[in-house]
């Protein structure tokens, strides 16, 4: 069943001189319930803009976004966003307070708080402020915060881009587990082909020429990053990406 559907999306930013800088033209997308769709593309092709439009943070000039058949006009609780840097974490709250924000601790059962903190592996940092956390821990806290809202759909905008390789892989595995265990749908933006192949059911390749191509991920679960088939797919997608890098 279709969870999120977008048709005919167009979006332009305005340059300082007042001229329009289009990033999306007549774009369409469909995401099924429980599906993991990874959006891949070179920098500046409009991946993050697209995610913000789908999440209701930006308005498309044309077309529409439907979530369960209802028009998305503003951010919605069942679709939670995890940003590139965990900018949604509030520095004046502890990890635990951030997770349950805007609820107060007394109004959320301790068992529920403990379970979620444990799920994302951050229980020992529950009383820490965000400036006391590493990048990986911040992203775990951001994930906990998103999951607390009981979303059906997670929007993730290059969430692990600033992390070192081991942390990135650890968090990718955690996202995969959460996606399966919680029955989530996932819209994940990245420019890392390996990350896309590891997480996606389907990959959407966006080009700077406003083109977009969908491809199914043929790799079965569990996925081995160093297997021959994984590496072969990686090379294939790299070549598709190269073709999409033509400038505007």
């Amino acid at each position: 069943m279709v969870l999120l559907e977008a048709t005919g999306l167009s979006f332009s930013y305005t340059r300082e001189d007042g001229t329009a800088y289009p990033v999306l033209k007549d774009f369409s997308l469909s995401l099924d319930e429980g599906e993991s769709l990874v959006i891949l593309g070179p920098s500046g092709c409009g991946k993050s803009t697209l995610l913000k439009i789908l999440g209701g943070f930006l308005r498309s000039r044309t077309g529409e976004v439907l979530y369960r058949g209802r028009r998305v006009e503003k951010p919605f609780r069942r679709g939670q966003m995890v940003f590139q840097d965990p900018q949604q974490l509030l520095p004046w709250l502890t990890v635990e307070e951030n997770m349950i924000f805007p609820e107060r601790r007394g109004r959320v059962p301790k068992a529920a708080r403990d379970s979620l903190l444990e799920k994302v592996g951050i229980e020992e940092f529950r009383e820490s402020y965000t400036h006391q956390l590493s990048g990986g821990m911040k992203q775990r806290a951001a994930l906990a915060r998103a999951l607390f809202a009981l979303p059906e759909l997670l929007f993730m905008d290059e969430p692990f881009v600033s992390l070192d390789a081991p942390s990135r892989q650890e968090l990718q595995e955690m996202v995969l587990k959460l996606w399966k265990d919680e029955g989530l749908s996932l819209l994940f933006v990245t420019h890392d082909v390996g990350e896309a192949l590891f997480l996606a059911d389907r990959i959407l390749i966006m080009g700077r020429d406003y083109s977009f191509t969908y491809m199914a991920n043929p790799l079965p679960y569990p996925r081995e990053r160093w297997s021959e088939s994984f590496l072969r797919e990686e090379i294939r997608i790299h070549s598709l990406l190269e073709a999409s890098r033509s400038s505007r």
């Binding site: 999440g55 209701g56 943070f57 951010p75 679709g79 939670q80 402020y129 400036h131």
Partner: protein, 244 residues
């Protein structure tokens, strides 16, 4: 940390002592001479009374200026059209030397506390407004995006987002306006007044009672220091997330 603060104050007193020894004039008494006066019960009581009146005036003025500056600063920071309407007025009024309006303010509000408090509020209001406006504009838009995705609206964002995000800047503003407020109050108290530390210091000067004059200045400095420390302490208490 506390030791370093004491050393800092000690350096100030030593500099005063050195200058006094160098100048050797009655208009610059040494710290021990001033301390001897302050240790006299009657002089200390009189001075403390004037200090208390002045501090009360400053605190009332700061509160009186803060509330409207907070409301207008948040409204301008969050609404571009309101900002376009209000900020030009503020930018025009801010640099005008408002102390020049003191005789006029006295005509309207009389010689009592009202005119002094109003004058200080009028001057610190603009500092508060501009600081709060900048503070609201600097709040990361992702906080609001994320808050909106949880169903939060503007009113609930005030308590959950805007005020907590502004707190450190508010404390900075209070530190800044405290200094300005005391300086402005000093001026207003020298104008047709019979109470307050400004009047006390200028009265002592006109009587050539230099030890009393410096006693007033020293106590005013000490009161300012204690208030600053109180603000710092409150900041540590209410902004525990700030990295030391």
């Amino acid at each position: 940390m506390r030791g370093k603060r004491l050393i800092s104050l000690l350096i100030l007193i030593l500099l005063w002592q050195a200058l006094s020894s160098l100048v050797r004039q009655p208009f610059l008494p040494s710290p021990p001479e001033v301390a001897r006066l302050l240790l006299k019960g009657s002089a200390f009581r009189a001075l403390s009374g004037h200090i208390a009146i002045s501090l009360l005036r400053v605190i009332c003025a700061l509160i009186l200026a803060f509330v409207p500056a907070l409301v207008l600063g948040i409204a301008s920071g969050r609404s571009r059209s309101f900002d376009r309407l209000v900020s030009p007025m503020m930018y025009v009024l801010f640099p005008i030397p408002k102390i020049a309006l003191l005789p006029l303010v006295i005509l309207f509000l009389g010689l009592g506390n009202g005119s002094k408090i109003f004058m200080v509020s009028l001057i610190v209001f603009f500092q508060y407004y501009l600081n709060i406006l900048d503070g609201v504009k600097e709040i990361d838009s992702h906080y609001f995006d994320s808050f909106r995705s949880l169903g939060g609206g503007f009113l609930s964002s005030l308590g959950h987002l805007i005020l907590p995000a502004l707190l450190p800047r508010i404390f900075s503003s209070v530190r800044l306006t405290l200094g300005t407020g005391i300086a402005v109050l000093f001026l207003t108290e020298t104008y047709a007044s019979r109470s307050g530390i400004g009047w006390y210091i200028m009265d002592a000067w006109s009587r050539l009672a230099y030890a009393e004059m410096y006693g007033g200045i020293a106590l005013l400095g000490a009161a300012g220091y204690l208030l600053m420390e109180l603000v710092n302490l409150s900041e540590r208490r209410f902004c525990p997330w700030r990295a030391p």
